[in-house]
Symmetry: C2
Subunit: 313 residues, 2 copies
C-alpha cells in the first residue's frame, strides 16, 4: 500500500482528481493555477473552514470517508444558511508523508459524495506535507438572484424556527467519548451530519428575515443572530424536538437530552426567523419568538447548562 | 500582552475584522455564515493554498506581517496567472493558544496590505486552535468577461515570455539558510515576493495563449504548461534575466545564479506563451519558444541542475 510520500504531490493530485467528476457549475476544473466556477447572478457566496486532526476529527473514530463527508457538509451548510445553493468546493489538504494514499483518496470520495447531494463538486485544491492531517475547505454558492439571508435581519415579532437534527451529534459524541459504539444512529450522526441543504434556499423564498447554521449549538448560534440583529430571542423548550434516540441514550448514560438540543453543536441544522403568521412547511418547526431587547432566553429565563456539561468544541 | 487563547476565538475574530476594510467587490463582509463577493461577469476564479509552519514559513525568519504578505501574494498571483483581477480572499487560520494575539493581528495586516495592492480585501475566514500555525488562503477573482488563460492553450510557433523576478527568492533562501541576513534585497525577496499582478490581465488582453504562475521554478512550471498544452518548450538561457544581486551572492556563496533563475521557486513571476510576432511591452521578456513535441529544454538540451542544488520546496 503506497503512502502519500511514495505517491508524491503530483501523483496524489492526479489520483484524487480522477475521482472527482465536475458538476455543471464548474467552468474550469482542477489542474490549472485556479478553477473557474459559474456565479450566474453576478455574485458568489464564499465560506471557509479549517479542520485540524485531533481537534476537529479523530482518525481512530472516523474513517477518511466520514471526515470528508463532514468537512464538506459543514461548509455546504454555511452556504445554505445564506439562502444559497452550493456550487463548488476547493480544498487544501495537509498530510503526513507516511499516511496511506488510500486514506486521502477516501477523503476525496467523502467530499465528492457530500457535494453530490447538492449537485456541487470539488473544483480544485492544494496538497502539502504536514505533521498532522489538516483540511481547509472553502465552499462557493449561488444566491440565484435573491438577497442573502444574513444574521442581522430579524425583527421584533418574528418567529424563530428550526429545521434539521438538533443534539444528535452531541449525543453521539457522548456515546463515543464513553467508549461505546452504539446507538449507531447517534454515532453516525456525530461522524456525519445531515444538514437540510435544500431548506436554506427554501427559507429565503419563504421570506426568512435572518438565518444561521447551527454549528456551535442552538443557543450560542441564536445568540449570534440576536446580537447581529439587535433583538432578543426566547426559545420555548416544549416546542423543541427532543428526538427519541436522545432520550434513550440520556437515560442510559445519565445525560441531559434538552442540554444536547440547546447546546450541542455540529448537527448543522438551520435556525431562521420569519415574519409572524408565515405558513411554514413541515420540515420547519417554530420554537421561539423575537422581541425587542437582547440575548437569548429559554421559557423567559436565562438558561444554565447542566453541571458537567461537555463543551466538546 | 494577551495570547490568542486569552482573547478567545470570538475576541480574536473581532480584533482581526476591525483591521480589515472591505473593498468594492465585497457585497457582504466578515461576520455571517458566509461572505458574498461580486462576480460581475457571471463567473468567479478561485484558488486555494495551505501553508504550514516550518514547512512553508518560519516564525524565526519572517515576521507575521511578512508571512501574511507572502501568503496573500502567492494566491493573488494564481488569480493573475489566469488573466484575472483578484477581488477577495477568505482565510483559515490555525493558531496555538499561547501565540501572542499581536502576531495574529500583524498577520492580518500583511494579508490586508498585499490585497490592497490589487484593490482586493479579506472578506471572511475561520480561526481555530492548532498545535502549529496553519494558514489556508483562498483567493477569488474576476475575468472581466475574458476567457481564462489556462496552461493548455500554447501552440507550436508561440513565443515564451516571462515577467517579474526569477531566482530572487531562491537566492534569498540560500543566504538565510547559511545564517546570513544580507544582501537585504534578496532576503526581503524571499520573505515577500512581488508578483507582477497587473501583467496577468494585461497578458490576457495581449492575446496570451497560455500562462502559469512561477511558484515551483521556471523549468518545472513551464513543464506543467508544456504537458497541459501537449507541446515542447525550449528556453534560451542567454535571454533569461540573471539579475545582478543574484550574480553577486552566487559569487560570494558559491551558488549558481542561472540555477536559481531556472529552478528557484516562490518568486511568483508569470510565464506566458504568445503568438509569434506579438509586440510585448517592456515588463515581458521573450525567453523561449514553443514547438511540437514534449518536455522543456534549455538551449536545445535537457537541463541538469547543478550538484548540491537545494530543492527547498
Amino acid at each position: 500500500v503506497a503512502s502519500v510520500g511514495e505517491l508524491g504531490e503530483f501523483g496524489l493530485i492526479r489520483a484524487v482528481t480522477q475521482r472527482l467528476p465536475q458538476a455543471w457549475a464548474v467552468v474550469l476544473g482542477p489542474g490549472d493555477d485556479a478553477a473557474v466556477v459559474s456565479a450566474d447572478d453576478g455574485r458568489v457566496v464564499v465560506t471557509t473552514d479549517l479542520l485540524v486532526e485531533r481537534r476537529h476529527f479523530r482518525r481512530d473514530w472516523s474513517t477518511a470517508y466520514e471526515i470528508g463527508r463532514k468537512a464538506a457538509a459543514q461548509n455546504l451548510a454555511d452556504v445554505a444558511a445564506m439562502g444559497a445553493v452550493p456550487t463548488a468546493l476547493v480544498v487544501g489538504l495537509g498530510v503526513p508523508g507516511d499516511l496511506p494514499a488510500a486514506w486521502a483518496l477516501e477523503l476525496a470520495d467523502g467530499l465528492r459524495d457530500e457535494c453530490d447531494l447538492v449537485s456541487a463538486s470539488v473544483a480544485g485544491g492544494d496538497v502539502v506535507r504536514s505533521e498532522m492531517v489538516v483540511l481547509a475547505v472553502t465552499a462557493l454558492g449561488s444566491l440565484e438572484g435573491r438577497p442573502p439571508v444574513t444574521r442581522s435581519g430579524a425583527g421584533a415579532g418574528d418567529v424563530v424556527a428550526v429545521c434539521g437534527r438538533l443534539g444528535w451529534s452531541a449525543a453521539g459524541y457522548a456515546v463515543l467519548s464513553r467508549g461505546f459504539r452504539s446507538p449507531r444512529v447517534l454515532v453516525e450522526a456525530h461522524k456525519r451530519p445531515e444538514p437540510p441543504y435544500d431548506e436554506g434556499p427554501a427559507a429565503a423564498v419563504l421570506g426568512a428575515t435572518a438565518m444561521v447554521d447551527v454549528s456551535d449549538g442552538l443557543l450560542q448560534d441564536l445568540g449570534q443572530l440576536a446580537a447581529a440583529s439587535g433583538v432578543a430571542i426566547d426559545v420555548d423548550p416544549t416546542a423543541l424536538p427532543v428526538d427519541q434516540p436522545l432520550r434513550d441514550v440520556a437515560a442510559a448514560l445519565g445525560g441531559d437530552p434538552l442540554g444536547w438540543v440547546l447546546a450541542g453543536g455540529e448537527d448543522h441544522a438551520l435556525a431562521a426567523c420569519f415574519p409572524a403568521g408565515v405558513e411554514l412547511p413541515a420540515p420547519w418547526q417554530v420554537v421561539g419568538s423575537v422581541a425587542e431587547g437582547e440575548g437569548v432566553t429559554v421559557a423567559g429565563a436565562p438558561y444554565e447548562l447542566p453541571a458537567g456539561w461537555d463543551h466538546f468544541r
